[in-house]
Structure formats: structure tokens, C-alpha cells
Amino acid sequence: MYKIEKSRLSELFAAIAAQEDLFLPIKKCDQANYGLWTEEAEVDLDTLKTVKSPKDCFFPQSETLYKCKNEDGKLAIDPAKLQDKPFVVFGMRACDVQAVKVLDNVFLNDPVDSYYAARREHGILVAMACHEPEETCFCKVFGIDAANPAADVATWMVGEDLYWKALTEKGEALTKLVENLLTDADEAAVEKEKKQIQAIIEKLPFSHLDLSVFENSELMELFDSPKWEEMYKPCLACGTCTFVCPTCQCYDIKDFNTGSGVQRYRCWDSCMYSDFTMMAHGNMRTSQMQRFRQRFMHKLKYYPDNNDGMYSCVGCGRCVSKCPASLNIVKVIKKMGGEA
């Protein structure tokens, strides 16, 4: 266990950034989002949850897959370059780290998505324990310990110090890189902090949601529930929940005609959009109820069915605070029978 004074964090960031790209929560126009560190950037480690999750660092909102040129009827395909340099994502919360594991199950399962795989291979995750969890948090429900994030390096902000502990080989390597800035520390302060965090989490209003209904019910039983019809109505069919969600991984592949060629890119898509499943012969999810059901069934039933019971929700609570109609997965879990 090491530590560094909070006041010297910018030195730490500069040291990391000198070697590798460093992404961390940056406040821009009043909102904290993950961004590339620069000397002028306003780093914001106090905001518990960034608007967009760090998912962007591994699965960007939009990325070019390849460029295609058509010269006299001859096509030429130029695949995009894969990530080949290491980079650091600093300040991830325990829920966001777990979310990356959720994405791993999708993108790293055969057939591997090499765009994602290359970023995962080169990305170093530095997580930070949640000093003051908020009422929208419910990571505990999914067995995540906000006091003990399971990344390459875990850090804790206690008083005026940042405590630093490498948990993996990648983490050790990063630690070596900045060793001269870190000083040895004992674990007592961190242990106390962990206890404090866990005590707060116990008290959070959503910490004791009961998911057994999703474990014990048959897929069709949940699918056919009349409750979906009762719940979906306020949904405006925007993609806010999907785009702020750290685990939503659906994407679209589209073409952009640049005038001198075609860029085929993929971008985040939302199952809440009416054209998500629209094709020439029709649309099999024609009502917003079906789309609404798809999103929550995917998170709470389909995904766990395919991934040994792991839920594709990590309880970060971003949708809880961002939905324009105040709908969210907590309300769905409760309504389906998961009242604590």
C-alpha cells in the first residue's frame, strides 16, 4: 500500500501522462465526463458518477471500423488501426469496473471483437473507492463492493491523501512507473474508510433490492407479465438510459459517405429507438412497450441466462438520475416483485 498527497495528484497525472494516455473524469461546462488528461483540464474526482460512464474508453460511442474506396468499380478496404499503446483509465468506480466485466462477456466471447480486445489489452484500470455513495447507488444488490474496487489498481481518497494499491501485474507495472511519487503507507486508514463506506451503503434506500424474482421465474413468465404494459407508458423513447449506462453494449453499423470514400463506423445504439429492429420486411418490436421490455429483460433475464447468472446491471444509478421521465431499472425491479 502506497499513498500520495491529494495536492500532488497533478504531478502523478503528469507522470502517468508523460508515458501513456490518461483518461479520467474531467469537468467541462459543468459536467464531469471521462476525457484525456491535459495540463489545463479540470480534473474532477469528487463527482461520484460521471455522466457518461468510462465505457467510452473501451467501446467508444462511435468508431470507424474501416474505410472503403471505390475506384473505377474496384473496392479497396482499409481497416482502422487497433489500439496498440497502453493507456490508463483513472478514477473508475467499483460499479464501472464491474461493467467492464459485463462488456467483456459480450465482446471477448468467441468470436472476439478485436477492436474492443485491443483496448482491453492495453487499458490499465485504476479504480477509486466511493467515499460518499449516493441515494441512487445500488451496486450492493449485484454483489459489488464499492469500498473494494477490483481493478488493476485500487485507490482510496482518505482525508488529504490518496491511497494506492496495485492488484494485478498491470497495476504493479503502472505503480513502478510512478513509484518515485508514492510513499509507503499502512492500511489502517484505508480499512477504516472501507468500514465507513460499507456502513453508508447499508443505509442506502436501494441497497436491499431483491432480485430473486428474476432468478426464480421462467423467462416466459416474466416476458408475459402484464406489468410491462403498466410501466412503460411514461417512457419517451429517448436513449438517455442506454447511453449513460455502463453496460449497454448494443451498437449499430453505418456508412458515412465522406465524398472521397465511405467510412463504415459503428456507434452506440439504443433498443429504445423505434428503428432499432426496423428492417425492409418490417419491425418485430413495434410498440414502445416491447422495446422497454426488451431493455430490462435483457439486463435482468436474457443476459444472466447466457452468462451464468451475472446481471448486466451494476447498480451505478446513472439511469436513476438521468431519465427524463424518472423511469429506471429500480422501479422495474420493484414492480416486478423485488421490493426490499
Binding site: 468467441d110 472476439v112 471483437d113 477492436y115 456508412d255 419491425n283
Partner: protein
């Protein structure tokens, strides 16, 4: 270009297409054309199994999943029978021999033609409607080329009109003339010059009255599938004997983009071929 570091896996190749050249275009019906595609080197782009699909794309226009119409036993090329019904297919119909497009695949499972107890060694009944013959043609030709491995072959195929029967030439000249193959054709409405059966596929099915000692493969419009299945069950078939192939909107083809799921199954990866007893356990979102 960076070195691929995915450890021998093929995710990258999965989204990066191959370039295909159209070497032949047959106009099957007023709105269906069959495209023959090979690589630039003149060789077949990839190997596949009957029932599998591939993503065909015209850069700048779009990309969509099409079932491969040709049989894997054809070692020279792949064929796609494509009905004109949207932006991409419109564009494809305007293309000519020598034009290039991109292809990636093959994707999905296949009809279990090599699995004992599934289709291998069994009597087979193929039921298709309209463009639904496309995926089945691959299986039929595979079966005919490996004739000894299968029992009787019966083909029931219907379309709106005689002009809308896809692969008519092959049906008449090859399938009808092969021993042990019975072909039943039907069209929806009376038409001059047509002396065959007139009527919808499901009712023709009952008129013929097939024995139940066989496996059935269906593909066609959803409404036809619905009534054919009901008819088959009435005739004493069980759902375990009946296979079909589904189609939903797809973008990636590898079970990641998240739109072709029916419940927890992805049509592009776990499908497109399903047995009806499997479909029964899934939500009716197809």
C-alpha cells in the same frame, strides 16, 4: 495496421469483409435475382454449411444478412437469391456482372444435415413459399449431392404466381428429374399457361397428406409458416420434427450488436435455424 493481438481469434476478420465479385446474375422472377459471387482470385470466398448466412454489403448503401442459396457442395462459388424490397436490395438489383461488393461470413448455425438423428439418414420434406426457397435450396442441393445419406426427398413449393417461382429452371430440370425426389408446385391464383396445382401451400399440404415418418424444413413468409405448422401438427407431426430458419434485423452477425435476439437467443449466432419445439420456449418476437 497494428498486429492482431487477439490470440488467434477472428473478431477483427468478423467485422472486416472480403471483397466479392459478381460473376453471374440470373433474373428469377420480376423481383428476385440470383447473384453468383466469388473472390477477386476467382475462387470461392469461404466454406459454409447449408442454412448459414452472410452479410452482403454495398459500401455507402448498406449491409444486410442474406442466406446463402448455393450448396456447400458447390466448390466454385456462392449464390445469393435476393428479393428487391429495400434500399440495399434495390441497389443490388441495379448491379451488373463484374461489379464488386463486400461479403463477410458465414454466420449462424446450419441445418443439422450431418447430425445423425436430426436430418442425416432421415426422409425429408421441404416446404417453401416465395423467396423462402433461398435457404432451403442450399439444403436440397446438399442432400441431392449426398443422396445416399438421406431417405426420400419431397419438395412442396408455392408462390404467388408462376412468374414468382424462384429457381424454376433448376426445379424442373434437375430436382424433378432426380430419382426419389417428388416435387409439388403450387401457385396462389389461376394463371394462363399454368396447368399445375392452384392454391395456398398450407391447403395443398393437407391435400397431399404426407406421412409423418420424416423431418420437415420450412421457410417462407411468417403467415405461411404459421398455417403450415398448424397443418403439420394436425397431420400428426410433432414440433421436434420441424425445422425453420428465421430472419431478423442484424448488424454485426456475431451476437454482439444486440438486436436480433429472441429472448436470450441471438438469431445470428444461435440461429437462424431453429426447431419448432425450441422456438416454443422463446418470446414471440420474430
Amino acid at each position: 495496421m497494428g498486429e492482431c493481438t487477439c490470440g488467434g481469434n477472428h473478431g477483427r476478420e468478423m467485422l472486416i469483409p472480403m471483397i466479392g465479385v459478381i460473376t453471374d446474375i440470373r433474373t428469377e422472377t420480376p423481383d428476385v435475382k440470383t447473384f453468383r459471387v466469388v473472390g477477386r482470385d476467382g475462387k470461392k470466398l469461404f466454406e459454409h454449411m447449408p442454412g448459414q448466412c452472410a452479410m452482403v454489403s454495398v459500401p455507402g448503401v448498406g449491409e444486410a444478412m442474406f442466406s446463402i442459396t448455393s450448396s456447400p457442395t458447390n466448390k466454385e462459388f456462392q449464390e445469393f437469391s435476393i428479393k428487391r424490397c429495400g434500399t440495399l436490395t434495390d441497389c443490388l438489383h441495379g448491379m451488373s456482372v463484374g461489379d464488386e461488393l463486400t461479403v463477410r461470413g458465414p454466420y449462424g448455425n446450419a441445418f443439422p444435415v450431418e447430425q445423425e438423428g436430426a436430418l442425416k439418414g432421415e426422409n425429408l420434406l421441404f416446404i417453401a413459399g416465395g423467396i423462402g426457397l433461398a435457404p432451403l435450396r442450399s439444403v436440397i442441393n446438399y442432400v441431392l449431392d449426398n443422396r445416399d445419406n438421406y431417405g426420400t426427398v419431397e419438395i412442396l413449393y408455392g408462390s404467388r404466381s408462376a412468374d414468382d417461382l424462384v429457381q424454376l429452371k433448376e426445379i424442373q430440370e434437375v430436382w424433378c428429374k432426380t430419382e426419389g425426389v417428388d416435387v409439388y408446385l403450387t401457385i396462389d391464383r389461376e394463371q394462363e399457361g399454368w396447368d399445375g396445382h392452384v392454391g395456398f401451400v398450407p391447403s395443398y399440404l393437407k391435400e397431399i397428406g404426407f406421412q409423418t415418418n420424416k423431418k420437415v424444413l420450412i421457410c417462407g413468409p411468417p403467415i405461411m409458416i404459421k398455417f403450415v405448422l398448424a397443418g403439420l401438427l394436425e397431420m400428426g407431426f410433432s414440433k421436434e420434427q420441424v425445422y425453420t430458419t428465421l430472419e431478423l434485423k442484424m448488424k454485426c452477425g456475431i451476437g454482439k450488436c444486440g438486436r436480433c435476439n429472441i429472448g436470450s437467443k441471438y438469431v445470428c449466432k444461435d440461429g437462424p435455424v431453429f426447431r419448432f419445439d425450441e422456438i416454443d420456449e422463446l418470446p414471440p418476437e420474430y
